[in-house]
Symmetry: C2
Subunit: 362 residues, 2 copies
């Protein structure tokens, strides 16, 4: 088991929390014990992950009064309705402010249960137990929680830090192929945005990751968490550098919204989005054609889309105007100044964006 600690600078006591990464962690009681002082727990999971891992967690929590809340699998659960069901269940079980909430599942469960923990009785403690690669690299660090709104993804949410993250890479054995690739999209994002040596490591090791080699997965998850933790420590409230982690996301969100959430998975949408962002970086003369080719090549090897859906560029642009990263009506984009070095660029001209969308589709 590998462990790293994430510092929370904005916390008065300079609190930090651990991320544990390794094999067969879900069933280990000692990983939960430090957080069960209140004597009760509530596990939020979905109907796919629950049957697989609830028995192990139940055993690890022996002697603790616990409630299990099982929601339907899928993005549609990041809704008011499901959130209300969680509150109803917590209240019916008389969960108090010292109840530990465990989020067992992928990004949807983590975002939703994390938001429930953020606002239930104005905040209760929670531990993330991510069971998808996407969630292990993406939702373990940063404390972002949210639900969706008909007008946009993650529109309602809160920053709420977990007490610990338990990332069991053996749980990735049961992950569908398509979701594994989506997780790799997020891994690759961290590399292109922040770390050239990690880009090179991925170019050499992408096959091992696709074959779910546990050593390679543990390394990739850990490296992403380290990179993200460094960014977040510098900028816990996303005032600046944290926006770099949105590389590919402005385009990606537009793809998801334009095709209807769930048609393109998040990882697929941001892969195509990162290619668009790379093309935009080329159009702005920040990087050259060989760099764009390397971006395309790594996504192709990972089995991820490099071209967006059949959406008119105008429609993509319209959807981006509603994106929450818009500041004072102008669009800001995360671009690449080099492989492994992303930067935030404001006031980009509409025509350059249009051309990047067209170029990415070729």
């Amino acid at each position: 088991m590998e462990s790293l600690r994430v510092a929370l600078l904005s916390d008065p006591g300079s609190r930090s929390y651990p991320i544990h990464i390794g094999t067969d962690l879900i069933g280990r009681p000692e990983l939960y014990r430090p957080y069960l002082g209140g004597g009760s727990a509530a596990i939020v999971t979905n109907d796919v992950v629950g049957p697989l891992y609830l028995p192990s967690i139940r055993k690890a929590l022996e002697g603790i009064r616990s409630t299990e809340i099982v929601i339907p699998d899928g993005e549609q659960s990041k809704s008011w309705q499901t959130l209300e069901k969680i509150f109803d269940a917590l209240l019916a079980a008389r969960c108090g402010r010292d109840t530990l909430l465990l989020a067992l599942g992928g990004g949807v469960v983590g975002d939703l249960a994390g938001f429930a923990a953020a606002v239930y009785q104005r905040g209760i403690p929670f531990v993330q137990v991510p069971t998808t690669l996407l969630a292990q690299v993406d939702s373990s660090v940063g404390g972002k929680t949210a639900i969706n709104h008909a007008r946009g993804k993650n529109m309602i949410g809160a920053f709420h830090q977990p007490l610990a993250v338990i990332s069991d890479v053996s749980s990735l054995d049961t992950l569908p192929e398509r979701e594994l690739r989506c997780g790799l999209a997020e891994v690759i994002k961290h590399a292109f945005a922040l770390d050239l040596p990690f880009v090179e490591w991925l170019e050499a090791n992408i096959e091992k990751l696709l074959q779910r080699e546990r050593g390679a997965l543990t390394y990739a998850v850990k490296r992403c968490c380290e990179l993200k933790a460094a960014i977040v420590a510098a900028d816990e409230r996303e005032a600046g550098v944290r926006a770099l982690l949105n590389f590919g996301h402005t385009f990606g969100h537009a793809i998801e919204a334009g095709t209807g959430y769930g048609t393109w998975l998040h990882g697929e949408a941001i892969s195509a989005g990162m290619v668009m962002a790379a093309e935009l970086s080329l159009a702005l003369n920040l990087i050259g054609k060989p760099e764009v080719a390397r971006v395309r090549s790594l996504f192709r090897k990972a089995g991820l889309p490099i071209a967006g859906p059949a959406l008119a560029p105008e429609r993509v642009m319209e959807l981006m105007a509603g994106d929450k990263k818009a500041a004072k009506g102008k669009l800001r984009f995360v671009v690449l100044e080099a492989l492994g070095r992303a930067a935030l660029r404001g006031g980009v001209e509409e025509d350059q964006i249009r051309r990047a969308i067209v170029a990415a589709a070729q």
Copy 2:
């Protein structure tokens, strides 16, 4: 105009915010200007307060792109449904993360709009413009925001600090008599819980407050804000001393829940609740009969109830067991060790509580 600053210790930059208290403040542009850097604002108000003060605020915000969101007056608006309407309106108006949200109204508007600001796009800036005495003394300090759930008041919420509070005591001219008295309940609570000299001042000046003398109101609001700010600064996350501000609230919430929210106003319920808590303090030999008599007398002079509703003591106790201040199944109570000195007492025996409820009804 009187101003005081509230320090937020948990903030990394040691942010503080001002509370302005005085006459004819709502229409003063310079009080809003420092917070309008984003160029847009959204005003949340209700259908009673809106028609009275929106024209002044509109004038003060001249040149700023602003949206007005008017919700129905009353506690029933502290709901998911109303919250959703606020989000819909904010999204329809393309409000971004830099939109300033103004909460213009009483406690319901403040709690609801504050919670909307806490979770819209994971948090946007907001300014409180409280127009009831209750809101001016109670919701100006502490950053508590929330909505209700069928199973309990304020069950879903967040801590979200305003950028400023603008407490215009002239807006109390239009406040119904019953609501003025409810505000006085909260004023009196601060005195009994925290400050004997303020108890004495209130015993001497309660008539002036009932006659809405602006000088007396400004002093009372300011003193409450100072007392609450000192408590909150010591304990921003309610781990300890902040619970003292819940004097009368465990009983009071049970009264509100047992009679159906809105039948007894919050201030009325906590008045009877404070008498119950004083009787409990007597039963625990913490204070004597003369102190209980002074508690009853001040509430009587303020025209507030000193006896609870016709609820069986067993029912009140059942309702309190579901209250969010329950820790590990046992009830904790805020009691008086003296007038002006409240304390938190855990593990109180059921029979003592029952007797206090009965004694308060006599």
